[in-house]
Symmetry: C2
Subunit: 223 residues, 2 copies
């Protein structure tokens, strides 16, 4: 057995007859959105290691759930222990990591959820590709730059990785010997060195509402 | 640049220090389940091309949505046009296709949805691996054999693929020159040559309720 059935192949009419055909089903994204009472979409947090992406993602997940909004957090590290566990070294794997995470976020958003992706995703081109994958199908996409100066992120060093990178134990570490390309026109920029996590979460939730991913949320319910 | 930052690497303590660490966040699966009013889980439809997997998946998706249950359909063909578009030929790609689909289903189920996966997934070992990935994290997994005799599936031939396989234009086609390994102990077997799509959908929905993925559903609302 060396071939997969052609109906499991990529649809590339120029090379093979079209055998992979989209199955639209009986239900639409609008049906799912109606059920959940929200439009959904992807919120993509990009930034240096230690910038606060995971912390902010966890906070807005909790706030959205408390407000009755369906959401799911895609933490880059967590995916690295699951679907992306086969990816390891090199530029190609890094790009593939961002691509897959983007596709999964788009599926969750198509399901009507707010997908909250947080991963370094240092390259502009890779993030642009994710945005395109969303816009192609009309799924909302917000790029959020979780922005802390390198010195601040390095001083936090929650996993001790900057120290190891400085000692030369890690090569190609973003911010040390590999670039972080900041978004040129992010939908939101959160300066975590100057504002509290809750203030950042407030600003992000406002943006999520303003872009119509979820309806306006009332005040926090009492504990 | 030839290396990814170590904090994006697979957690393999035997080879590298643990740098990919699970971020638990502030919210639990139980929080998400409570919001949606259901436990969620994965329903995995396996069977020959033409057996009726996609049709049944679309029908139960519509029925679940009509009953107010959050769900999402992962059609193998549709994923081949997105996250799995890089996979094409050979046994390794086929296995990877099933693995990724399983991981995505597990994420959706962890989000509290009923994930409805439909793809040939012909090999027992690959499906067993998907089940293990679910059970490892306590996510419900139902394996459903959509079972039609080869002669029936071939006579349906909705995409004309059996005809092409018989003419030798497609190699490694499941049921023709590549095996389908039927589940030995499926959670449900649906004989689509003997029962209508709606009867199959009824049986599957009963099983979904019996296994606690969603609470009991009332009668269909009027159109």
């Amino acid at each position: 057995m060396t071939m997969v059935p052609e109906d499991e192949r990529r649809d590339e009419p120029a090379r093979t007859p079209p055998t992979v055909v989209w199955h639209a089903g009986e239900s639409s994204r609008a049906d799912r959105q109606r059920l959940l009472g929200q439009r959904g979409g992807t919120v993509w947090l990009t930034g240096l290691s230690g910038s606060g992406k995971s912390t902010i993602a966890a906070r807005i997940e909790a706030r959205l759930l408390a407000a009755g909004r369906a959401c799911y957090r895609l933490d880059g590290d967590n995916l690295r222990l699951g679907i992306n566990a086969d990816l390891a070294f090199g530029a190609a794997d890094r790009r593939e990591n961002v691509r897959r995470t983007g596709e999964i976020a788009a599926l969750l958003a198509d399901a009507g959820l707010v997908a909250i992706a947080c991963l370094i995703s240092p390259y502009r081109e890779d993030r642009a590709r994710v945005r395109t994958a969303h816009e192609r199908t009309g799924v909302a996409f917000l790029e959020v730059h979780v922005d802390a100066p390198l010195a601040v992120a390095e001083s936090r060093d929650p996993k001790g990785l900057y120290a190891r990178a400085r000692r030369g134990e890690i090569r190609g570490f973003t911010g040390i010997d590999d670039p972080f390309e900041p978004p040129e026109r992010p939908d939101l920029r959160l300066e975590t060195a100057r504002r509290s996590i809750d203030a950042c979460a407030d600003a992000l939730l406002d943006t999520i509402v303003q872009h119509g991913l979820v309806p306006p949320m009332g005040p926090l319910p009492p504990e």
